[in-house]
């Protein structure tokens, strides 16, 4: 009923390869885009600056990591370090007078170059061993940033993001920062939506399933593993730069520590490996659920006048958050994206359930 499949015919290759063959999906995308563009007019500033904006930036980052983990099947426990390289690179570049657009690309290239070095580990080791070697990247980058004053910005170890212009427009207010983040997010999303349709995406899938089987069918696993690290690190660097310029407006080493790497991995796993919408949902859960739970528990405690100490009250959201993550993964191990797909599949034939095969 909602998803009218009648009249959806695959009469040409182009139609067959369309991203959203069902019209309703296209309308949903358009509506979401319209909502995203109109968000500054619709949402109070509080929700725009501290919910929607970080969500978009973290979704961008989760998409970059998902390319590596979901599409190419490599694990990365040092993604925050990749983002840190991008953030510091971009801030230093803009301070040197390089335009923001170039600095954004440059930060991506810098992260990609350094990320690639650690990607070489992936040529030799897999799984847990790769996790440990990427963990080394996290520690190395953390250590270098906080021990080199030229990078970290002296004894206070904080660098302010300088004022910048994007495509000639000065970016100063909350709204313009939001639109910059939105633009980058839309670009990265459309790249990942299309990855699956390219030979690059198919090669990554082949490498993910079995690298020497991929080699047998003529896919250069060596090349594509490195390409996956390169692309993912590039996206990580860009999202780190956007995070620094549009959200934090300053960088310190603590903003990119190991916890953040773990959070990024959690976003991908809870959201759904190899899924675009999963990256969004995962970012929402990992980033926003603690804040929302905290506020809800606080409001409930106030309204019910619970005689609880603040320490206890602060730990309840943590318990709920843990329950939420375990619950989602028990309920649907393939992540939030699969939950969404299940709902969509249900409505695809609703109310004619017998039509489902």
């Amino acid at each position: 009923m909602f998803y009218r499949l009648a009249g959806v015919r695959h009469t040409s290759y182009a139609a067959d390869r369309a991203l959203w063959p069902v019209p309703v999906d296209r309308w949903q995308i358009r509506a979401l885009l319209a909502l995203a563009v109109g968000a500054p007019f619709l949402l109070p500033d509080l929700y725009l600056t501290s919910y929607l904006l970080p969500w978009l930036v973290w979704s961008t980052a989760a998409l970059g990591l998902n390319l590596l983990m979901g599409w190419a099947g490599q694990i990365h426990l040092g993604y925050a370090a990749v983002m840190a390289i991008g953030a510091y690179g971009a801030i230093h570049a803009v301070r040197l007078g390089i335009p923001f657009e170039l600095a954004l690309l440059g930060s991506g290239l810098l992260s990609a170059a350094i990320g690639l070095v650690f990607g070489f580990a992936a040529l030799r080791v897999k799984g847990l061993y790769l996790a440990i070697s990427t963990l080394a990247m996290q520690y190395l980058v953390d250590w270098i940033i906080s021990h080199v004053p030229a990078i970290s910005g002296g004894s206070q170890a904080t660098l302010q993001a300088p004022a910048f212009r994007f495509l000639g427009v000065p970016v100063a207010g909350d709204w313009s920062r939001y639109y910059v983040a939105l633009a980058v997010c839309v670009l990265v999303t459309s790249f990942l939506l299309n990855v699956g349709r390219t030979s690059f995406g198919r090669a990554l899938a082949a490498v993910r399933e079995k690298d020497f089987a991929a080699a047998v069918i003529g896919v250069n696993a060596f090349y594509f593993k490195l390409m996956a690290f390169w692309c993912s690190s590039f996206l990580g660097g860009v999202s780190g730069a956007v995070l620094a310029f549009c959200y934090y407006r300053a960088v310190t080493p603590e903003q990119f520590n190991l916890d953040v790497s773990i959070q990024a991995v959690a976003m991908v796993i809870v959201g759904g490996m190899g899924s675009v919408i999963g990256s969004y949902l995962g970012a929402a859960l990992v980033l926003l659920a603690p804040i929302v739970l905290n506020n809800l528990v606080g409001a409930f405690a106030r309204a019910a006048a619970l005689p609880l100490h603040q320490e206890v009250l602060s730990h309840i959201p943590l318990i709920l958050y843990g329950v939420l993550i375990v619950g989602f993964l028990l309920f649907e191990p393939l992540g939030l994206a699969k939950v969404y797909a299940n709902i969509r599949n249900y409505f695809l034939v609703w109310p004619f359930r017998h039509a489902r095969h």
Binding site: Q28, T49, S50, Q156, A250, P253, H309
Partner: protein, 415 residues
């Protein structure tokens, strides 16, 4: 996508429910977003309890010039993004002052607060260079910076050595983080001035394993040892010092050493250990006694009564006392309702304020947000901290050179 929309609507509804309606106009709102669950847990509970008990005392006495104070408390888990959310929420609720008690979170909020003109109280944490009120107009450290703490400790050592530090060896054992490395320039500069031999021994963060570092310290045979860490690393430092034969009465610490740490190592074994103190300890202080009588005895305390008078409890009381004094001066001079700008001017007119003996005389001006940089050295006697000096400030020229140098860097970054 439906799911997304549904989730969004749900979240929005939940959040709308979570924000309480605006109270009456006279209420002064203070926002504290603290770390109850991650890194700063060693002090947050006591600190926040002190803050809330002091506010309860204020309100029981009729508020500040008839204005009741509402203190909002929320957990950030030491995550900058949660701190930013809390900050934006406090802002939308009309808070005149915010406190984060977390260096990473307050650093992340500083650019926003400067932009919005909301006062941030960063007592004993945050950027040391924020003491420069010309560059950071709404950031108030209002307490001796880590640099000032270093100079006070050296001053005490100098007095103990009868003013002659020539060829004495002073070792700094520090956590290897920006916080730990922060005082090094001060110790180096003073070593040039006073002629002692300075060496620094970093141990890796978070500091629960320091044995390798202390072996090196023992080899150095320092005359005085200074430990610079916080939280779980501190009792480890003290224990390792004892184990390596460092004389305990020649061991001095940055402000973050409490009776809890001493009890972990052994209250009687640590007798004589020294620490920097920026706020008076114990229940003998008139202000703490008043809280005990008017708040705790009436069952209105915010937490366990045995925490009253502890090191971090008193620091919490001190933060709110400084705020209240600023607010009182602002309301006296300019009348209500209290705005962030009025409070800023009020805080900047605080002169020789001691909070009934809880604080060293504090004088804040529009240039000097440090407030004089005074503190004292206290020794552990096996049961409590006993002050060894008056409130002292020393070598403030070095401190201010560093403050100006770092704040100039901040200014040059185009903000």
């Amino acid at each position: 996508m439906k799911k997304v929309l549904a989730t969004l609507t749900f979240l929005a509804a939940g959040l709308a429910a979570a924000s309480p309606g605006a109270a009456q106009d006279k209420t002064i709102k203070v926002g504290t977003a603290l770390d109850f669950t991650a890194v700063y847990t060693f002090l947050t509970a006591e600190y926040s309890q002190g803050q809330r008990d002091y506010i309860a005392l204020l309100n029981a006495r009729g508020g500040i010039k008839g204005h009741p104070v509402d203190i909002m408390v929320v957990d950030t888990g030491n995550q900058p993004q949660r701190g930013i959310e809390a900050y934006e929420r406090f802002k939308s609720e009309g808070a005149v002052l915010v406190d984060f008690l977390s260096t990473p979170v307050s650093r992340a909020v500083v650019p926003r607060a400067l932009n919005d003109g909301i006062n941030v109280l960063t007592m004993f944490h945050g950027r040391s260079d924020a003491a420069d009120g010309t560059v950071f107009p709404t950031i108030f450290p209002a307490s001796p910076s880590y640099w000032a703490q270093a100079t006070a400790i050296i001053k005490y050592i100098e007095e103990q050595e009868k003013g002659n530090l020539k060829d004495k060896k002073i070792a700094l054992v520090l956590i290897d983080s920006p916080f730990g490395r922060e005082p090094i320039p001060v110790f180096e500069e003073l070593s040039k001035r006073l002629g002692y031999k300075f060496s620094a021994f970093p141990y890796p963060s978070p500091g629960n394993e320091q044995s390798a570092t202390w072996t090196q310290v023992r080899r150095e045979r320092p005359d005085w040892t200074i430990i610079w860490g916080a939280g779980g690393g501190q009792p480890v430092s003290v224990r390792e010092a004892i184990r390596n034969g460092i004389p305990i009465d020649r061991l001095a610490s940055v402000i973050w050493l409490s009776e809890t740490d001493m009890n972990i190592v052994g209250a009687s074994q640590t007798k004589g250990a020294l620490r920097f103190e920026g706020v008076a300890y114990g229940k003998d202080v008139p202000l703490i006694a008043a809280i005990e009588k008017e708040v705790i005895a009436k069952g209105k305390g915010a937490g366990p009564a045995e925490r009253v008078g502890s090191t971090y409890y008193n620091i919490g009381v001190a933060t709110m006392a400084v705020f209240a004094e600023g607010a009182r001066l602002a309301l006296e001079k300019e009348g209500g309702p209290l705005t962030p700008a009025k409070l800023k001017r009020g805080l900047e007119s605080i002169k020789d304020y001691t909070a009934d003996g809880l604080l060293p005389p504090l004088t804040i001006t529009s240039e000097d947000h440090q407030g004089g940089g005074r503190g004292r050295i206290a020794a552990w006697d096996g049961a409590k901290w006993v002050p060894k000096t008056d409130w002292i400030a020393a070598h403030q020229d070095i401190v201010w050179n560093l403050i100006r140098q770092e704040s100039a860097k901040f200014k040059n970054s185009g903000n």
